[in-house]
C-alpha cells in the first residue's frame, strides 16, 4: 500500500500509469511466489499418484508383464477375461458385503458411543483414548494378534471355546477379516461423530429440551440433522475404502480358503505379484477405482460449497 501511494504524491500528472504497472508487477511476483509455494505438494502428488494412475489406465488395455514397458495393445481382452472369471464375481460380491457391513455396524456403534459421551465430560477423554487404541495400531499387528490369540484353535480364545477357526471356513472367512477391521475402525467414527455433535448449536438443544423432548428425541431431531454433512462424508469415504479393502483380508486369509474371502484388492495384487500379469492387475485396479471415483465425484460435488468457502 505504501508503494502505490508514494509515486502519486511525487508527480500528479500521469502518476496512475506507473503505479498500476508497478502494482501489477508486484501482484505478479506475489502470484509466482504463491505458485512456487504450492508446487512441491502438487508436483509430488502428480508424479507419484496421478501419472502412474494414468499409466494404469493405459496398461489395462495391454498384456504388460510389469518388467520394462514393452506391452502389446490387446483391447478389452483383460476386462473380458476378468468378467468371465468366477473369482472376480466372488470378489465384487465380497466388496459389496464389506461395504454393507461397514455402513451399518461401525456407524451404529460410533453414533451410540458418541451420543453417550456427549454429556459425560469428565470421562470423555478417557473413553476416546481407549476406543482409538486399536485404530492407531498397525494392521499387521492387529491381524496377527487376532490370528494368534483369538482365532487360533490351539491356545487362542476360539480354541478355549472349542470353536473352529473362522478364518479357515469358507462361509466365515470374509466375516473373520471384516470383524478385525471393524474392531480397529469403529473408535475413529466415535471421535469424528463426537467432534461433529459438539458443534451443534447449544440453543437448538436447549430449545428442544424446553419443548419437552427426551434424550432420544433430541438426538433424532437435533443432533442427527446437525451432523448430517459429517455422516455423509464418512459414508462416502466408507464406500471408497470398502472397494479398496486389502490389508486385513490379505493378512488374515490371503483371500482364501478357495477364494471365499477374495476381494478385488487381493485379486488384483495376486495378478501382479504372483503371476506377473500386470495388465490384468491394472484392469482390476481400474474397476476398483471406478467405484471409488463415483463416490469421489459425489463427495467433491457435495463438499464443493465447503471447499470454496
Amino acid at each position: 500500500m505504501t508503494t502505490t501511494l508514494a509515486p502519486r504524491a511525487r508527480s500528479r500528472s500521469g502518476a496512475t500509469r506507473p503505479a498500476t504497472r508497478r502494482r501489477s508487477r508486484q501482484s505478479r511476483r506475489r502470484a509466482v511466489t504463491g505458485y512456487l509455494l504450492v508446487s512441491p505438494a502438487l508436483l509430488l502428488s502428480i508424479l507419484i499418484v496421478v501419472l502412474p494412475g494414468i499409466l494404469t489406465l493405459l496398461f489395462a488395455f495391454t498384456d504388460w508383464n510389469g518388467i520394462g514397458f514393452d506391452a502389446e495393445f490387446i483391447g478389452l481382452q483383460n476386462f473380458q477375461d476378468i468378467l468371465a472369471d468366477p473369482v472376480f464375481a466372488t470378489s465384487l460380491k465380497n466388496n459389496i458385503t464389506w461395504l454393507i457391513l461397514f455402513l451399518t455396524l461401525p456407524v451404529v456403534i460410533g453414533l451410540l458411543t458418541a451420543a453417550l459421551l456427549l454429556r459425560r465430560k469428565r470421562m470423555r477423554t478417557f473413553y476416546q483414548v481407549v476406543f482409538l487404541m486399536p485404530y492407531v495400531l498397525a494392521p499387521v499387528v492387529n491381524a496377527l494378534v487376532w490370528q494368534t490369540i483369538i482365532y487360533n484353535p490351539n491356545g487362542g480364545v476360539f480354541g478355549l471355546l472349542q470353536l473352529a477357526p473362522p478364518t479357515a471356513g469358507q462361509s466365515t472367512s470374509l466375516y473373520a477379516a471384516a470383524a478385525v477391521d471393524m474392531w480397529h475402525y469403529w473408535g475413529f467414527l466415535t471421535v469424528v461423530y463426537l467432534g461433529a455433535m459438539r458443534q451443534t448449536p447449544v440453543d437448538q438443544v436447549e430449545a428442544a429440551t424446553v419443548d419437552g423432548a427426551g434424550a432420544w428425541k433430541v438426538f433424532l431431531h437435533v443432533y442427527l440433522p446437525s451432523i448430517r454433512p459429517t455422516l455423509l462424508l464418512m459414508g462416502v469415504m466408507t464406500v471408497i475404502f470398502s472397494f479398496l479393502a486389502f490389508d486385513y483380508v490379505y493378512l488374515l486369509t490371503q483371500g482364501g480358503p478357495a477364494h471365499s474371502s477374495e476381494v478385488m484388492g487381493t485379486y488384483a495384487y495376486a495378478f501382479a505379484f504372483s503371476s506377473f500379469q500386470f495388465g490384468k492387475a491394472a484392469a482390476v485396479g481400474l474397476v476398483m477405482s471406478f467405484f471409488g471415483l463415483l463416490a469421489s465425484v459425489l463427495y467433491t460435488w457435495i463438499s464443493r460449497r465447503d471447499l470454496l468457502r
Binding site: 494412475g53 494404469t56 514397458f69 492407531v136 490369540i149 491356545g155 486389502f246 478385488m264 463427495y299 471447499l307
Partner: protein, 274 residues
C-alpha cells in the same frame, strides 16, 4: 441426568465397548510372558513367571533393531516432506494467494481419494527398473505424496485461523515471504504442525501395502514387516508372537497417549471441515 437408571445403562454400554477394544491388547500382555505349555491351558490366565525369554527371541528373529531404525528413517522422511510441502501449500490456499486456488482444492480432493491400487503397479515397475526398490527413503517419499492432500487440507484450516492483521503487520514491517512464513506463521500454526505430524507419522509407521511391496529385502524391512516374517516360523509359539506384538504396541500407544489431544482434535476437525 434425570433418571440415574438410564445413566447407569449408558456407563455400562461405554464400559462394554471399552472392554471390547481392550481385551485383545490385554491378551497380548498376559501371554507375552508365558511359555507354550502355559498358554495352551487358558489364554486368560495370569502368567506364572515374568520371563523375558520370549522378548529376546522375538527381538532377534524379527530383527527389531534394524526394524526400528528403518521405521524411524521411513516415518521421519514422510513427516518432514509432508510438513514442509503441506504447510506451504496450506498457507497459499488459506490466503487464496493464487487465482487458481479453487482448481487446486478440487484437485486435492480428487487426489485424496485416488486408491493405491490405481497407481501402485506402474509405480512399482518404474521404481524396480530404476533400482529404487528396497529403499526406505523412497517409500517415505511415496507415503508423503499419498498423505499430502489430507495434510494440506488440515494445514489450510489451521492457517485460516491466523488473523489477517498478523500477516499485514509483518508485511508493513518489511518482512519478505520467507521470513513471514518461518518467523511469524510457523510458530502460530505449531499445533497444526504437531497434529499433522502425529497423524501422518502414525499412517507411515503403520502402512502395509506400499511398504511390503517396495521393501522385500531383509535389511530394509520396517518394524511391522519384520514382525510379519515371524508369523510362519512362530505361528505355533504364541508366547513369542505376543512378545513381538507387545514390543510393537507399547511405543505406539505411549506416543499416542502422550499426544492424544492433537490426534483427537485433528481427526475431529479434519473430518468435519473436509
Amino acid at each position: 441426568m434425570k433418571t440415574p437408571f438410564r445413566s447407569v445403562i449408558g456407563h455400562l454400554v461405554l464400559a462394554v465397548f471399552a472392554v471390547t477394544a481392550l481385551v485383545p491388547l490385554v491378551l497380548v500382555l498376559l501371554n507375552s510372558f508365558k511359555d507354550n505349555s502355559e498358554i495352551l491351558g487358558n489364554p486368560f490366565r495370569l502368567p506364572e513367571s515374568l520371563s523375558v525369554d520370549n522378548f529376546v527371541t522375538a527381538w532377534n528373529y524379527g530383527q527389531f533393531t534394524e526394524g526400528f531404525v528403518n521405521s524411524i528413517l521411513l516415518t521421519g522422511t514422510t513427516v518432514v516432506v509432508v510438513l514442509i510441502c503441506s504447510s506451504l501449500a496450506g498457507y497459499v490456499l488459506a490466503g487464496q494467494k493464487v487465482r487458481s486456488w479453487p482448481v487446486i482444492m478440487v484437485y486435492l480432493t480428487m487426489a485424496m481419494t485416488v486408491p493405491i491400487q490405481l497407481f501402485i503397479f506402474p509405480l512399482y515397475s518404474v521404481a524396480a527398473n530404476a533400482g529404487l526398490t528396497d529403499n526406505v527413503f523412497v517409500v517415505g517419499v511415496i507415503l508423503a505424496a499419498i498423505n499430502m492432500p489430507f495434510a494440506t487440507f488440515l494445514m489450510r484450516t489451521f492457517f485460516l485461523n491466523v488473523p489477517v492483521e498478523v500477516e499485514e503487520a509483518a508485511v508493513v514491517d518489511g518482512l519478505n515471504t520467507f521470513q513471514l512464513v518461518t518467523r511469524v506463521l510457523f510458530p502460530m500454526v505449531r499445533p497444526g504442525l504437531i497434529t499433522v505430524g502425529v497423524i501422518v507419522g502414525l499412517n507411515a509407521w503403520n502402512e502395509f501395502l506400499i511398504s511390503s511391496t517396495f521393501l522385500q529385502d531383509r535389511d530394509t524391512k520396517t518394524l511391522t514387516l519384520g514382525f510379519l516374517t515371524m508369523n510362519g516360523t512362530f505361528s505355533t509359539d504364541i508366547g513369542t508372537m505376543m512378545a513381538g506384538a507387545l514390543i510393537l504396541i507399547v511405543p505406539i500407544l505411549a506416543v499416542f497417549i502422550a499426544l492424544q489431544r492433537y490426534v483427537v482434535d485433528g481427526m475431529a476437525s479434519g473430518a468435519v471441515k473436509g
